[in-house]
Each structure stands twice: as C-alpha cells, then as structure tokens.
C-alpha cells in the first residue's frame, strides 16, 4: 500500500503550488533543525565534559552543567515534536522508519535515557564527589553515543536503503535491519553529526562564561571542532559515492546546490573567523547558520521523498483533514510556545546571567 503510494507523489505536476503535506514536512524539518541547534548543543556539551582537560577541567565541567541544566528538557522536546508530527501526518513513512531502523533507534533511546537520568542524578543527587564523577562519566559517554546513532540513522535514510525499494540485494535479518545503518557512509554521517554538535556546543559555551580563560578553552575547542566538521563532512560526501547516489547527485548537481554550498562554506569560514577574532556572538550566529544549512541541504536532496526511494511526502501523507487540524494546532500552539521559550532563554541565557556560578536549584 505504502510503496505504490510513492508513485502518486512523484506524479505531482511541476510548477504546482506547495501542498499542505509539504508544509508539514517542512515543519518536521524545522523541528529537527531546532533540535539540532538546541539539544544538539546539549549533547555536544556532554562531549566536552568527556574531553575536559587542562588546569580548568573542573570549571569546564561546571560550565557545561550550568549551561545545560535549565534548558535541556525543553530542548529535548523538539525531537518529540518531530516524531509526533511524523506519525500523525505521515503514518506509513513513520512505520517504515520504525521497522527498518529499530536497532539504531532503540540504542539511541538507551543513550537518551542514560544521558538525561545521569545528568539529573549528578546535578540533584547531592552525593559525594566520586559518585558524582561516575554519573558525569555516564552522562558524557551517553552524550557521545546518542548523536552518533541518530546521525547513522539519518545516513541510512539518505542512502535510500530504508525505503521499501531500496533494501537492495539480499534478504534476511542482516540485510534488512542492520546493513542500511551499519556501513561506512552512515557511520561517517554519524561522526559528522557528532562533530557538528560538539562545534555548536563549544561556540555557545564561549558565551556562557565571563572568564576569559574559560572562553579561550572553548575557543580552541571550537576551532578544532569546526575543522572536524569540514573534514568529516567531506569524508561523508566522498563515501556517499555509490551508496547514496541521490544524495550525491542532489548535493552536487541540482540548481540550488552551488548557492547552498557557497552559503554553507561562508558560514563555516565566518564561524571560524569569528571564533579566531573572539567575536563570540557572531560565531554563534555563523555556527548555527552553518549547521542549519547542512540540515536543510540534506532535506532538499531528499525532496520530494521523506524516506527515499518510495515514501514521498504527498504519497504518504495523512488525509487533508488531519493535516489541516494539525497545522491549525501548530499555529495556535506557536503563539503560546514561542513567547514561553523566549522567556526561558531570557532568564537563563540573557546577558546578565553569564557570571553566575554553578547550577543550583534549591
């Protein structure tokens, strides 16, 4: 049923209007974008917790904890929004993703659970130092593994091997449930995602502290991670040859490809330059723009498919009434949501709070 639904989607006339389903698919990508920029940076913070080193090891960890504490739960909800929208508006595509990517998603869930709980246990457990360190370690490792797995899942989707027609040669458990995500290309995408998150975190963290020494620590880390983003990005693109032809073709051949590449490259270089010049705010804007452009670039190469090669946006969409209701709810919800989010970030990420010490909730 789902597989041939894709054909309809493809049949959509050229210059036709944007459909309701496309708008909602756009909202899904936008939620993922928010997730990557906000929760991604929280994961990246965990990476820097793991890699904390030098004379200010302890201060680095405290800064990470302080930055994540009040916002991580809210940031994390963006993923839930994306999932919920996907299964309400595109049920067959969601079912397909859930079946084929059962293993990486389950493993990522393990990571999500351990990261969140370990963070809470460490922050509010009020225990001896050594126990806290153990939770900190678990928090950091889970922060490292989860983005890797989510990135691998994205890589698998991009390669077109999660769709019905793309399962490729071979039957059997391994070919269907493991091979699509456990391959060099998907792994490269996972590492790339991790590098992006670490980069975002380092850049944001320069703004979280007023201490120049700490800022320098994260400036150095940001520069390193920014270069890692470029290297792993190029590696993933190279590995996509043959594995993910539509991705490669989209990224290299389509009309919007060169402007997108130019913008992304400008953002990447601008981010590094701003870090170098200690213009933290500019660095933050550039880094966020770079990562967002990469995400939208991936989404555009997939268009008109949610799960290539056979689950198209229009073909796997729910009936219009559902889409219209959800869109209405989204609009109404946004009116309440965005001011609330603004309030949250103003309280904890505003200028005057940068000097406060460690997280302290009671």
């Amino acid at each position: 049923m789902a597989a041939n639904a894709g054909a309809e989607g493809r049949g959509k006339g050229e210059g036709s209007k944007v459909t309701l389903a496309e708008i909602l698919a756009g909202v899904v990508v936008a939620s993922l974008n928010a997730y990557v920029l906000l929760a991604g940076a929280d994961f990246g913070g965990g990476v820097w917790d793991l890699l904390a080193s030098g004379p200010r090891k302890r201060e680095q960890r405290d800064l990470v904890e302080h930055a994540i504490g009040p916002v991580w739960e809210a940031n994390h909800v963006w993923l839930i929004v994306a999932v919920v929208l996907l299964f309400t508006c595109f049920p067959p595509a969601f079912a397909q993703l859930s079946i084929r990517l059962h293993i990486p998603f389950s493993l990522a869930l393990f990571g999500i659970v351990l990261r969140g709980s370990a963070f809470a246990f460490r922050s509010y457990g009020g225990q001896r130092d050594e126990v806290q360190r153990r939770w900190g370690r678990l928090f950091a490792i889970a922060s490292l593994v989860t983005p890797l797995l989510l990135g691998m899942a994205v890589g698998a989707v991009a390669s077109g091997r999660v769709g019905e027609g793309g399962s490729g040669k071979g039957e059997g458990f391994y070919a269907i449930y493991v091979a699509p995500w456990l391959d060099p290309f998907a792994f490269a995408v996972g590492v790339f995602a991790l590098a992006c998150f670490a980069f975002l975190a380092a850049v944001y963290l320069t703004l979280e502290s007023a201490d120049p020494e700490l800022q320098n620590d994260f400036r150095r880390r940001g520069l390193g991670a920014g270069i890692a983003v470029m290297v792993t990005g190029i590696a993933a693109l190279a590995l996509s040859r043959g594995v993910a032809p539509s991705l490669q073709q989209g990224l290299l051949g389509s009309p919007w490809a060169s402007p997108l590449h130019l913008l992304t490259a400008a953002a990447a270089l601008g981010g590094l330059a701003a870090l170098w010049l200690r213009r933290w705010r500019w660095a933050r804007i550039a880094a966020a723009a770079e990562v967002s452009l990469i995400l939208w670039g991936w989404a555009l190469t997939q268009y008109p498919y949610l799960v290539p090669p056979d689950f198209a946006i229009d073909g796997s969409a729910a009936p219009t009434i559902t889409l219209a209701l959800v869109l209405g709810a989204l609009v109404l919800g946004a009116v309440i949501l965005f001011p609330s989010l603004y309030y949250l970030f103003r309280i904890f990420k505003g200028r005057d709070t940068e000097t406060t010490g460690t997280a302290d909730i009671a």
Binding site: A2, G69, P70, V71, E73, A74, H76, V77, L79, I80, V81, V83, V84, L85, F87, T88, C89, P91, P92, F94, A95, Q96, L97, S98, I99, H102, F105, S106, I112, V113, R115, G116, S117, F119, A120, F121, Y124, G125, G126, F173, Y177, A318, P319, I321, T322, L325, V326, A329, G333, L337, S340, L341, L344, I347, F348, T353, A359, D360, I361, A362
Partner: protein, 463 residues
C-alpha cells in the same frame, strides 16, 4: 518467548515504569504551588522551605519521566508500526497537542526549578501553576488516545481501511471523559496520599515537627478529596465499560454467563474450562447495580464473546479487584482524616487543629499504610484496562498481533529495556530515600543540612 509476547511485555514494562513518574509529574506541582502560595500569603518561611524541598526532591523524577516518555513515543512505532500506520492519522491529533503540553511543562519546569532567585516570587509561582496545568494536560491528551483504543470512533471502515476520518470525533470518544477524569484523580490521590504517608511516618517519630505538619496538611488537601471522589469516577468508568467494552467488563468481573440481576464477584479463581469462578465472594445483584444502576439489568458474560476473543480473565479480574480494594481503603482513610480534622477544628482554636491531627497515631499509621496504594491501584487499573482490551489493540478493529513489528528477536530489546528500568528504579529509590532521610528533624527547622540555600531568608513573602 514469542515476538508478540516480547513486544507486549516491553510496552507494558515501559508504560508501567513511565506512569509512576507521570503520576508524580501531575500531582507534585500542585502541592508545590500550594506550599509556595501559602508562603507568599503568610510569609511563613516553613512553606518556602517545603516548596523548595519538594521541588528538589522531585527534580530527578521529572527528568526520568521525560526520558521514559521519549522512549514511549518511539516505541509506539518501534513495536507497533501496524497500529501507527493504521491509526496515526485519526488519533495523532491528541498526541500533537500533547507535544505542546510537554513543551510548556518542560519550559516552566526549567524556570521553576532553576529560577527561585532569578524571577520575582509571583512570576515563580505562576511558573509552578503552568507546570501543574500542563502536566495535567499531558495526561489528559495521552489518555484520550488510550480511550480511543478502547472505544474507537471518528472514522468509517471500508475494506479494512479507515476513511472519512474525523480526528475531533475521535477525541470525543465515549471513554474519553471517564478515563481522563479517573486518571487525573488517580494522579492527585496517589501522589497526595503517598506524600501524606511519608510525612505521617516522620510525624510518628516527631509529632511536634512544624515542617512535617504543614506538609501533611497540604498533601491531604490535594490527595484527600481526589481519593474520596475516585470510587465515584470509577463507577462512571465502569458504566462506560459495561456499555462499550463488553468483553472487558465480563473479564473484570469474571462473569462467564450472561444474566439478569448479575452478582458482583469478588476475588476467587476463574476456571476457564468449567466456566465459573471458584471460591469467590458473591454479592447478589451487585454487578447489575454497579454497571447499570438497576438490579435487574442484564449483564453480558464471556459466553457472549467468541472464545478466541477473551482476554486473560484471571489477570484482568484480579487487577480490577485489587484496584477497587485499594481505592476503597484510600477513600476511607481520606474520609477519616477529614473527619478528624473537622472534629479538632471544632474542639480547639484555629492554632490547635494541626497539632491534634499529627498526634492521632492510629490515623498516622493508617496513612503510612496508604503510602504506596495509589501507585499500586494505578498499575492495577492500567493492567485491567490494557489486558482487558486484548486480543485487540483497537477494540474490535485491529488485533494486537496484526500491529506488531515484523522485526524478529524482540526478546532482546525487551530484556535490555527491562534491565535499564530496573537499574533506574533502584537508583531513583535510593536517591529519594536519601532525600527523605535528610528532612528537617526538629521544630527549629531552620537548621539545614544542605549547602544549597544561597540567600538566607530571601523574599519574606508578600507582606
């Protein structure tokens, strides 16, 4: 273990784990808000301390609730892709609304937990109110989904495909009102009485402790009325089940035969082959009265249901009886506490009434006994609801076995997640235990073992 059984068990474990934190996520914010409000109104620092300690104690639980809920959102697809593909379009709407409720809850929880010293007291209180409201809304929306699984509406089935979807009608399904009401009351009753029980226990050792007395009063204020109302809303739920979910009612009551003037069957051993329940207590006309408010009403038994569509009768029956028994006890204790409070309020001056309640040792013991009961009743109630719907995932429409994922080897994730939840459960229990043990021990409650308080005596409340 078959894949289907593994999937069912994994879903059940995940939900049974999540629901504990969901109950707390709905109930605790209300108590914190009441305490904070009293602090602002009276300037009594003890209330301030109480709100802060409750917040600190439950911060961990909120985090675990959020991550275990995330697991569930994915699991709906990971384990039941057939269900989501079939029903996502018609019943995804409340899930989407729930997404907003989660957002509001997470945002204002962050503000509430970390914002004590950063925003004005009134704004802080408002943040707490919003946490309480959005927690309740999350519960309502998700239970609407479950109610729809029990009494599906809002579509037409043509050749096995849903057409003419009406997501709004789906949300207004027959079970929605009774289930959401019953669930919300369960959250307030379970957390209220659990907190009351803990503070009652500490009062048994130290009856003069002003901190625990105030805590007890607030916990009873939130939990007591809910516990009293719970059997009433349970009756509403039972009548809804009797009308729309024949098989479930028959299994809950272990009623094998359709009859007029059906008796209420309490306990006993359902014998499927003999089609009778042995060793049970039977209350004549009880079931007809409860289910239809008419002693002569006909109640359908399991004989009206094809044998292959029976749920697990014993499990559903015992779960239901356990819930009802615990609910009866909780309601009685709540009434007793209300009565004691009323009598003491009359006897002595306004200042004396708290004191006397804490010194009523039998009542304190009865409350201690009730501590886990709301949580147990909730688990039992959900078992009755979910097992009672089998073999259907959408009652009468889609069978559970047709909804499960085709991926083999599901026993592996089942075992892995079970171990994960056991691990988390043990840690959470240990941390909570420490939290309670470190509670202030003396009326000179200002002695604080915690390093946390930064600005001593800040904001002595609104004058």
């Amino acid at each position: 273990m078959s894949d289907l059984l593994a999937a069912r068990s994994q879903m059940g474990i995940s939900l049974a784990f999540h629901i504990i934190f969901a109950l707390i996520g709905i109930g605790m914010p209300v108590m914190m808000v009441v305490a904070e409000r009293r602090w602002l109104a009276t300037g009594d620092e003890i209330y301030h301390e109480l709100a802060r300690r409750w917040a600190r104690g439950t911060a961990i639980l909120f985090a675990v609730g959020a991550v275990s809920g995330t697991v569930l959102s994915f699991e709906l697809g990971l384990l039941w892709p057939g269900f989501m593909r079939f029903a996502g379009a018609v019943i995804g709407m409340p899930f989407s609304l729930e997404g907003f409720a989660f957002f509001m809850e997470a945002i204002f929880l962050g503000i509430y937990l970390y914002g004590w010293d950063r925003i004005p007291p009134r704004a802080h209180l408002l943040a707490g109110v919003l946490v309480a409201v959005s927690g309740a809304l999350s519960g309502i929306f998700v239970v609407i989904v479950n109610a729809w699984m029990n009494t599906p509406t809002g579509f037409e089935l043509v050749n096995g495909v849903m057409t003419r979807l009406d997501p709004i009608a789906a949300m207004r399904n027959p079970a929605a009102l009774s289930q959401t009401l019953h669930m919300l009351l369960a959250a307030y009753a379970a957390t209220g009485l659990a907190v009351a029980g803990i503070h009652a226990f500490l009062l048994l050792k130290d009856p003069a402790n002003a901190f625990h007395r105030r805590a007890l009063a607030i916990a009873l204020l939130v939990g007591g009325p809910a516990a009293v109302l719970q059997p009433v809303s349970g009756d509403l739920a039972a009548r809804q089940v009797a009308r729309y979910q024949t098989a479930k009612l028959a299994a809950m009551e272990a009623a094998f035969h359709t009859e007029r003037g059906a008796p209420l069957v309490l306990g006993g051993w359902p014998d499927l082959d003999a089609r009778t329940t042995r060793y049970a207590i039977r209350i004549p006309y009880g079931l007809s009265l409860l289910a239809f408010h008419d002693p002569g009403a006909e109640v359908k038994g399991l004989d009206a249901i094809p044998r292959d569509q029976w749920p697990n009768v014993a499990a559903v029956h015992w779960s239901f009886d356990l819930m009802a028994a615990l609910g009866t006890y909780m309601a009685l204790v709540a009434l007793w506490a209300a009565f004691a409070r009323w009598r003491q309020g009359k006897g002595e001056g306004a200042s004396g009434k708290h004191k006397a309640l804490a010194e009523n040792r039998p009542l304190m013991w009865a409350l201690v006994l009730a501590t886990p009961m709301g949580f147990l009743a909730t688990e039992a109630g959900w078992m009755a609801t979910e097992l009672g719907r089998q073999p259907w995932v959408i009652y009468g429409i889609l069978r559970t076995k047709d909804a499960v994922t085709p991926m083999p080897g599901l026993v592996v994730p089942f075992v892995a997640f079970t171990l994960l939840y056991c691990f988390l459960g043990v840690i959470v229990a240990l941390l909570l235990y420490r939290q309670i043990v470190r509670s202030p021990t003396v009326p000179e409650w200002l002695w604080r073992p915690m390093p946390a308080q930064r600005e001593e005596g800040r904001g002595k409340g609104a004058k």
